[in-house]
Symmetry: C2
Subunit: 227 residues, 2 copies
């Protein structure tokens, strides 16, 4: 706050501010990230994270900018997002000082299928060439989600509203990147009180018996013990 904002137009122009979103979903039991063909003339159609500059005339807050851009680029509404980290430097964009406020979002693939969208998906460990520091931003998001995975219900955002215990185990397994014992997982999750039965059953895939469907207990987000 030492300089007046109106000095921002000269050689010391204020940094360009954009938001970038690491939208993650689970496809083929793998954590995958949504990429879009950039519309900027500078990037010339290259695949990049969903993102864009903050529009001071339209966006009230950074969160609003994120949701405006998710709606515009992916037809996505009411997505769970959390701020991840802010990357800002002289070097991340050849055109000058720039700041990217990065977010990550998680959503079930079933939600994506409902939407008209222009997204393509890549496994987080097999990314194509990405502009700027987008690869670093993806890695930071994956690290955060993996770190939280053990002690939060956040990975469950990758599930639909109702899910079987097997589906839930698969999600945690994919997020944590490790095999999880089914019986131990079931016991732990039930003892932690983070899910409750919906009293509904469905036959999933080629299963011979119908599976009980669960849902998250509202309000429980973090728990101390590792899954």
């Amino acid at each position: 706050m030492e300089k007046n904002q109106s000095t921002g137009n000269d050689a010391l122009a204020a940094p360009a501010v954009s938001v970038d979103i690491v939208l993650l979903t689970l496809i083929d039991k793998k954590l995958q990230v949504a990429l879009v063909k950039s519309r900027s003339s500078y990037l010339n159609g290259q695949l990049a994270l969903i993102g864009g500059t903050v529009h001071p005339d339209e966006d009230k807050t950074l969160d609003h900018a994120v949701h405006r851009i998710l709606a515009k680029r992916g037809g996505l509404k009411k997505i769970f997002v959390e701020q991840l980290y802010t990357f800002g430097s002289r070097d991340r964009d050849d055109r000058g000082w720039s700041v990217s406020v990065a977010y990550y979002g998680l959503l079930p693939i079933t939600e994506l299928e409902k939407n008209e969208q222009e997204l393509t998906f890549y496994p987080v460990d097999k990314l194509p060439k990405l502009p700027f520091d987008h690869k670093k931003i993806v890695n930071t998001a994956v690290e955060r989600v993996r770190g939280k995975g053990g002690y939060s219900t956040i990975p469950a955002r990758l599930l639909g509203q109702k899910f079987s215990m097997l589906q839930m185990k698969q999600i945690y397994s994919a997020v944590l990147g490790e095999e999880i014992d089914m019986a131990a997982f079931r016991r732990k999750v039930l003892s932690l009180g983070i899910v409750r039965t919906t009293n509904e059953k469905v036959r999933l895939g080629r299963a011979t018996r119908p599976s009980e469907l669960f849902e998250l207990v509202p309000g429980v987000v973090n728990f101390d013990s590792r899954i």
Copy 2:
């Protein structure tokens, strides 16, 4: 990235970008935050968080801006800081869209005493009137440090390099805002392997017996169990 950066000078000027630092220390067994008299003509000497705009010509990264400002306003070098959260909206500053990348820092009061500085300290729960959303930024930092306090060595940054077990307990107690049983704390900390003895002893305060001095085991930052 949909707009060219060069459009930033018209009505849709890029947001002003500043960094603000919640510098915490322990004084009188209370977590306190460093404030400075703002040098901006807009704030007219009001107390505010240590902060300032990013200088695109001087600062290579956001972290560099933080350390430049800490050095300039507090004479503080090599301070432990972590990015906290980025606050950005149309409303937080009357002058227009602004973004504050907030950081928090922790340092022992002994380090502060060494420095020529213009800082004043207030307990985090007895703040004076602060400009913009600085009170919210302080609260977010305190919440983060308290949340981490239970399972990280981060609060130990408030200690000098060598410390007694009692001093360490007092720090965790102040950060967590709760009384901690000394014997249980000692047992836990030693069993977690986060500290080691320096084989030195000093007589602290009015103690009749000298206290053993410990130091952090390098590389241990997080641990699973709550203190």
